[in-house]
Amino acid sequence: MKTVESPVLEVRNLHIGTAGGISLVRNIDFEVGRGEIVGIVGESGSGKSLLTLAVSQLLPRNVVARADVLKFLGTPLEPNAPSDLTGSLLGTDLAMVFQDPMASLNPARKIGSQMVEAIRFHKKIPKRLAFSKAEAALSQVQIQDSSRVMKQYPHELSGGMRQRVMIAMAILLEPQLIIADEPTTALDVRVQAQVMSLLRELNRELKSAILLISHDIALLSEVCDRILVMQQGELIETFVISDLFARSHEPYTEALIGAIPTFDSDPEKPLGVLDDED
């Protein structure tokens, strides 16, 4: 594993379970370095999303997390009881992009006022300045007519546009870490590619680290520096992206890689499937 100097996020021995004692995620160790893009891949139910919720302190009430070390920018986080300190970290240095852009914007308010609210809540700056910042963020995510979009309601925008708005909201406060939980699952392939290259570009410009969650290893391999593989609540492998095809992996990872269709795949043969016995 590559060791990283002063990581943005450091997780040592993280366990997540229900209040009733059922273990959901076990023994997680990883870190995200400054400006790094880290992907987490795994099948549904492997604990990817729980991991991000624990980091962003949004775990449901009946789920408990504990860790030997859970540090964000050197500040220890309390995954179960968000303190005021972490409340101010949320939204300023840590931003989230959710899975379903259709559902993650407040439908009753215009895009502009939602975006401005986030800035003005954390930094007491004049309204006009906040508006121009929000507009700039919208153009940064390649929304052409940003001043018009500011005045529109979420339902007037398409899914791809809404996800871009979500990303614009995430980068507004120039966070150190953006957590994107399956940001492209609800989008079609073309828009997926746009959103991915957008994330990559923002990472280059703003130097924010990105933690990208997906079940699609092909998608992750296009943008990530490192990939963590999760299976049934455990982190089974970590590898640098250059090693994707270079060395042998865990059987599960091999199976995930084998499931990527390429131009050389034999159209007659079925793609590799995962065997539960692995």
């Binding site: 949320l90 300023t92 931003a95 559902a103 993650s104 914007l105 979500m166």
Partner: protein, 305 residues
């Protein structure tokens, strides 16, 4: 963009027969309420002992009451008191019931259960029964009746808000708001309240009609508005006493109560339709296009046999 949409909603509202008619009805009621109790001349309020309990005549279109006041004008003059008291009662119910329901729905599990049980308990009393109990506590009169009906309607709105807010609580945009680090108060005000406000407003408007009737019921029982103030319910009570002398003394207020109840309820329904695009009439229905063709085909087939 959104202007076009609003215009569309407005057109849907106006184009339906009930929408148009109820809008006219509400307009008329508003004018009557603005004219108020003094706007219809002295015949409505000053007694004329020479002509008590008369039937309809050229002087008095619908006759007079036991104190010789013109029934027709008095009925119109009572509009303001009746509407204002109904409106205030509903406002009380919407604000308090809305807070009760929404705070219950956003609370921790124990509060949620307790609040829901309380709502159920209060709903098990009838509206009017609850109102009578409350009047027994705070005393009769217009103010007492308004508070009583407000409180009696509260559980209904609490239940309504509770279910609307419970739906909102599971939405992703709430999680997104928490991830932005917004405070609980801001999330409650700008995310929860904003998104439940339209449903609550429409429900409130619909129940103004019910409140008019509940107010009338309390006044009819002698618990509501006391003279010299007068509303439709009180006029109805007085009218029933002289039913055999001047039938209209009872029928006129009864008709107006019915009219107001229906008009406001229809207006509320039309409003609900206008703000919810799903209820606009341009959705697929079973009796057009393909199905109709299919039925026609069947019919022709039958004829050929």
């Amino acid at each position: 963009m959104s202007n076009k949409r609003q215009l569309r909603g407005f057109r849907v509202f106006i184009m339906t027969p009930t929408g148009l008619l109820s809008a006219i009805g509400v307009f008329v009621l508003l004018i009557l309420a603005i004219l108020g109790s003094e706007g219809f001349g002295s015949q409505a309020i000053v007694s004329d002992m020479a002509r008590t309990s008369e039937g309809p005549s050229a002087d008095h279109l619908l006759g007079t009451d036991p104190l010789g006041r013109d029934i027709f004008l008095r009925t119109l003059a009572a509009t303001r008191t009746s509407l204002i008291s109904a409106f205030l009662a509903v406002l009380l119910a919407v604000v308090l019931g809305g807070l009760w329901g929404s705070l219950t729905a956003v609370g921790p599990p124990r509060i949620r259960r307790l609040g829901a049980a309380l709502i159920d308990m209060f709903m098990s009393f009838g509206d009017v029964l609850l109102a009578i109990v409350i009047i027994a506590i705070i005393g009769r009169g217009m103010q007492g009746a308004i508070i009583a009906i407000g409180v009696a309607f509260m559980p209904t709105f609490a239940r309504f808000t509770h279910s609307v807010v419970s739906g909102i609580m599971t939405k992703d945009y709430l999680l997104a708001a928490r991830a932005t680090g917004l405070s609980k108060y801001v999330i409650f005000r700008k995310y929860v309240m904003r998104n439940s406000a339209d449903a609550l407003a429409v429900a409130g408007f619909t129940s103004i009609g019910e409140a008019v009737m509940a107010m009338a019921a309390l006044s009819f029982l002698g618990l509501g508005v006391q003279s010299p103030d007068f509303d439709w319910g009180q006029m109805l009570t007085d009218g029933v006493d002289i039913f055999y002398l001047n039938t209209w003394a009872a029928i006129a207020p009864a008709l107006v109560i019915t009219f107001t109840g229906l008009t406001v309820a229809f207006f509320g329904d039309a409003l609900a339709r206008a703000v919810n695009p799903i209820l606009w009439s341009d959705r697929p229905h079973l009796f057009g296009g393909k199905l109709k063709g299919l039925l026609d085909g069947k019919a022709k087939e039958g004829e050929q046999r």
